[in-house]
Amino acid sequence: MDGIHDMGGMHGFGPVPYVANDTPYHEDWEPRVFGMSSAVTKPTWAGLDYSRHALERVPPDVYLSSSYYERWLYALIMRQVEAGQLTMAEVASGRAQPSSSVRDDAMAPEAVDPYRFSPFRQAVDARPRFAVGDRVVTGDPQTTRHTRLPRYARNKHGEVHLHHGAHVLPDSNAHGEGECHTHLYTVKFTAHTLWGAESSPIDHTYVDIWECHLERA
């Protein structure tokens, strides 16, 4: 979707609020939102790509005027409501509806492990269409659905720089339509191609792009 989240290359944001060795959290409630988002019960279809798509669907004016963990909080509410696990009335009142069911299968503290993960890469029968060094042109998905091809890198000519094997395809997985492992490449663009003659003639931008968004140039 052409959402507000897709902000690479936008003008007008001003200086970066850079603080050397800055901390991840700035308010006491922020780690609670991170913790809740990780620990809450979710349906099996509601994976990482769906979570990202929820963040993208936070209305643009709210997105821009909210802090990072405020957006996470909105997306968490959205996901729970869409999963049918909370109603907006419950969220607004802060109380469970008397008739609602209570589960007892929430994630236990012992199950928390930052070093445990499911792989995104998987061997597939389909051979990669492109090899490192191939010239490619990117697609231009006109869709309200989830995609990870940024606007600034659409309809652009580049060169395949790395091949990563086949990875879960966010465009389908975010919508519960399967992981559809698809060959993934890092594509190298000259700064001139993306950012015009004002940019340095020797600089490059690299973007990870799935095969379905690439054609041979």
Partner: protein
């Protein structure tokens, strides 16, 4: 669940009914989720604790120091960083597929996620606020030299800048240049020298 997702916030003016203070909003939601059996408070505590203490830039710094000291490891890291980091037992959530990028006199790499906030959690911890900020996400792809100058990193016009936009589950780790004063230091001393920001490409050592 499939297809085009409606926005549950579109049709209702529901956001206006939530507590305006985000701290209260978060607290209210947490107690509601607990009441409905969808969340255990102790699990939230465990997530916060483990992401604060068990992962973080000390892990990334170990990878960098080892690459500086051990030419064979450096070669393996640059060839296949996922396998090299797996050797050290440091793969994990948001850190499943890795590419290592070496900064040199002639090339400076810097990493961003323009679409959200993708970041190698086990190697660098959770991202700092500036990395997730709109100005960084918007500007570093278009004008990396101006952003780096604001960070205090000035580069010669002859140094190539490579900006890596983390749009997939590949995570990028910058191997900063080893500073001249680091000659002869122990691995432990080198680990202490490597800043988190240098492994994003936002600082030099």
């Amino acid at each position: 669940m499939s297809g085009d997702l409606p926005n549950p916030f579109d049709e209702h003016d529901e956001l206006a009914h939530l507590p305006s203070d985000p701290a209260l909003r978060a607290k209210t939601l947490e107690s509601l989720l607990v009441e409905k059996g969808l969340l255990k408070q102790k699990t939230v505590d465990a997530v916060i604790e483990r992401f604060e203490n068990d992962v973080g830039p000390h892990n990334g710094a170990r990878v960098v120091a080892r690459a500086w000291l051990d030419p064979d490891f450096r070669a393996r890291l640059l060839e296949n960083a996922t396998a090299a980091v797996a050797e050290m037992g440091l793969l994990g959530l948001q850190t499943t597929d890795i590419v290592a990028l070496e900064n040199t006199e002639s090339v400076h790499n810097i990493v961003v996620c323009t679409l959200c906030s993708c970041y190698p959690w086990t190697l660098l911890g959770l991202p700092p606020a500036w990395y997730k900020s709109y100005p960084y996400r918007a500007r570093v792809v278009r004008e990396p030299r101006a952003v780096l100058a604001e960070f205090g990193v000035t580069l010669d016009a002859s140094t190539e800048v490579r900006v890596w936009d983390s749009t997939a589950e590949v995570r990028y780790l910058v191997i900063p240049q080893r500073p001249a004063q680091a000659e002869g230091l122990s691995e432990e001393a080198l680990v202490a020298l490597v800043s988190r920001d240098s492994m994003i490409g936002a600082a030099k050592l």
